[in-house]
């Protein structure tokens, strides 16, 4: 039961930390304007916006040529787009003069990111299961601090994850809830006039010099800025602290709960089998789990933990089976492809738990070796102590987190791209012969990748466990000089 208690502890912490998960990565790798890197805007209309003033190949922006545009000035700090004629980029022009991507051109980067990131709706095949949203708007935003609880079914999302209804000032774009800035009607449901194409992304240069996708909402001729959820990664993945925090029960949370309940049921069954069949040989699922359990116990726990191996079996087993369950759950095809371990927040929590266990069980020798390594002259200790501290407090948890995250995310992305090869070759419907011809090779490649991913799922769970065991062993090792 203690092991299962650890599993539930993971879930509760991860539910909280999921709010800090990486936010909008490049939602559209290519900007909706495919041929140019920036925008030509009517000069003098920007306050604090940096736009790369590049060369447009074949674009004519007639200055001041608005056809019936209303830009409410107070809404977005003087953002004026003076656009005239536009070439068609495989989309249609919305009322605000921007070409909106209407999926007539396939965008593998955006599709890959959409499929590996967390979402507020659970899409299984063609069905979108609504999930509860808990959204907290920060104090210094329009309307003050506010905590919203509603179902993401209110967004009326289509199968791309774009909502056609704005609810309480939030809108769903690519599966994630986003908040509309500015003077928007934040009372209940507001159907958007352009439906699910109301929110669009524009690749822009941010203040820190990096290019990022900025989202806009075009509603009633007005342009509103749209914020993605806050993340704690300091803008590394395009996030940072924005105007709201997303505490929702997202796809990752639901997947973790499902995996946890499944593991609970499975291990109760195995435990009951041991009680009912004492002295008999193990059969069925009991034999299968026993093989894995004994493998971890004999190869991981006993060699690394020495005498105290029995105390740490619950946490090691919990880590191993939880990570294995999450990895494998993400591999189930057509079931939403929930990439739980490929999200930094979940792996961060697992690494933090491993770190807490080693820190709590560190004995005096362990701390002595970090802060005051015996047997060294003083001037060497000055160098060694910071390195050891960094290693123990920063490097070890960080590498645990990034290794698991990187392996699972890379695998997922490769699988999505392999399936997307069909659409790339078929030019999204323009070249059906090439598309059809690509089906068999793409399916074989995907099958191959999925087989490798099953192996990687086991290996990564095993590596996480064995490294945690080695760190705990190092922390509890007895003095033996």
């Amino acid at each position: 039961m203690r092991k299962l208690g650890f599993i539930f502890l993971f879930i509760s912490i991860a539910c909280f930390v999921t709010a800090q998960q990486q936010g909008s990565k490049r939602t559209n790798q290519q900007s909706t304007h495919q041929n140019h890197q920036g925008h030509n805007h009517a000069q003098g209309d920007h306050s604090g916006h940096n736009h790369a003033k590049g060369d447009h190949s074949g674009h004519n922006h007639a200055q001041g040529d608005h056809s019936g545009h209303n830009h409410a000035q107070g809404d977005h700090s003087g953002h004026n787009h003076a656009h005239g004629a536009h070439d068609d980029h495989g989309g249609h022009m919305n009322a605000c003069g921007h070409v909106v991507h209407d999926h007539s051109e396939f965008n593998p980067g955006a599709v890959a990111f959409h499929h590996i990131s967390d979402q507020n709706v659970y899409s299984i095949g063609p069905w979108q299961l609504p999930l509860p949203c808990f959204l907290y708007t920060h104090k210094d935003s329009e309307g003050g601090s506010k905590f919203d609880v509603f179902s993401s079914g209110n967004f009326k999302a289509d199968y791309h994850g774009n909502g056609s209804v704005a609810y309480n000032g939030y809108v769903l774009y690519e599966g994630s809830a986003r908040r509309i800035r500015g003077n928007f009607n934040r009372d209940g449901a507001v159907p958007l006039k352009s439906g699910s194409h109301s929110v669009y992304a524009v690749e822009e240069m941010q203040d820190n010099g990096k290019k990022k996708d900025q989202l806009y909402l075009c509603e009633g001729g007005k342009i509103f800025l749209v914020d993605s959820k806050s993340t704690l990664d300091g803008g590394l993945f395009g996030g940072g602290i924005t105007s709201f925090t997303d505490f929702s029960m997202t796809k990752n949370v639901v997947s973790m709960i499902i995996v946890c309940l499944f593991l609970f049921w499975l291990f109760r069954k195995v435990a009951r089998a041991y009680k009912n069949r004492q002295g008999l040989a193990p059969t069925g699922i009991q034999g299968f789990i026993e093989t894995i359990f004994v493998f971890i116990q004999d190869e991981v726990a006993k060699p690394f933990l020495g005498k105290r191996w029995q105390e740490f079996i619950p946490i090691l087993m919990a880590l191993f089976f939880f990570i294995l369950g999450l990895n494998l759950f993400g591999q189930i095809p057509f079931f939403g492809g929930s990439n739980v371990t490929g999200s930094l927040s979940v792996t961060a929590v697992l690494a933090i738990v491993a770190f807490l266990v080693t820190t709590k069980n560190g004995n005096k020798d362990y701390w002595k070796h970090i802060f005051n390594m015996p047997g060294l002259p003083a001037w060497v200790k000055i160098i060694v102590t910071p390195v050891e501290m960094m290693g123990a407090f920063i490097v070890k948890p960080l590498t645990l987190m990034l290794r698991l995250f990187g392996n699972m995310t890379a695998g997922h992305m490769v699988i999505v791209i392999f399936v997307g090869l069909i659409f790339i070759f078929g030019k999204n419907g323009m070249n059906p012969a090439a598309g059809w011809g690509m089906v068999i090779p793409s399916a074989l490649l995907t099958l191959f990748m999925m087989a490798i991913e099953l192996l990687v799922a086991f290996i990564q769970a095993f590596v996480f466990t064995i490294l945690t065991a080695s760190y705990i062993g190092a922390a509890t090792e007895e003095h033996h000089h």
Binding site: L236, E299, T399, R403, N407, I459, F462, V463, I466
Partner: protein
């Protein structure tokens, strides 16, 4: 020149990973040739080391992909 510096960085990271895992595999083969009855131990250690080396390379690839 098309492409970005980030892609070049990712490629360099893969070179390191490939060299590392190649060395691991090669030494494992030699060890198995020297002592065929230790195949099980050698194989599991080889896979463990390869996963660690791969982890470092994948961290570099993903960072170059996201940040660059």
């Amino acid at each position: 020149m098309t492409g970005s510096l980030a892609a070049i960085g990712a490629g360099l990271a893969v070179i390191g990973a490939a060299i590392g895992i190649g060395q691991i595999g090669g030494k494992a083969m030699e060890a198995i040739a020297r002592q065929p009855e230790a195949v099980g131990d050698i194989r599991s250690n080889m896979i463990l080391m390869a996963a660690l080396v791969e982890g470092a390379a994948l961290i570099a690839i993903l960072l170059s992909f996201f940040v660059g």
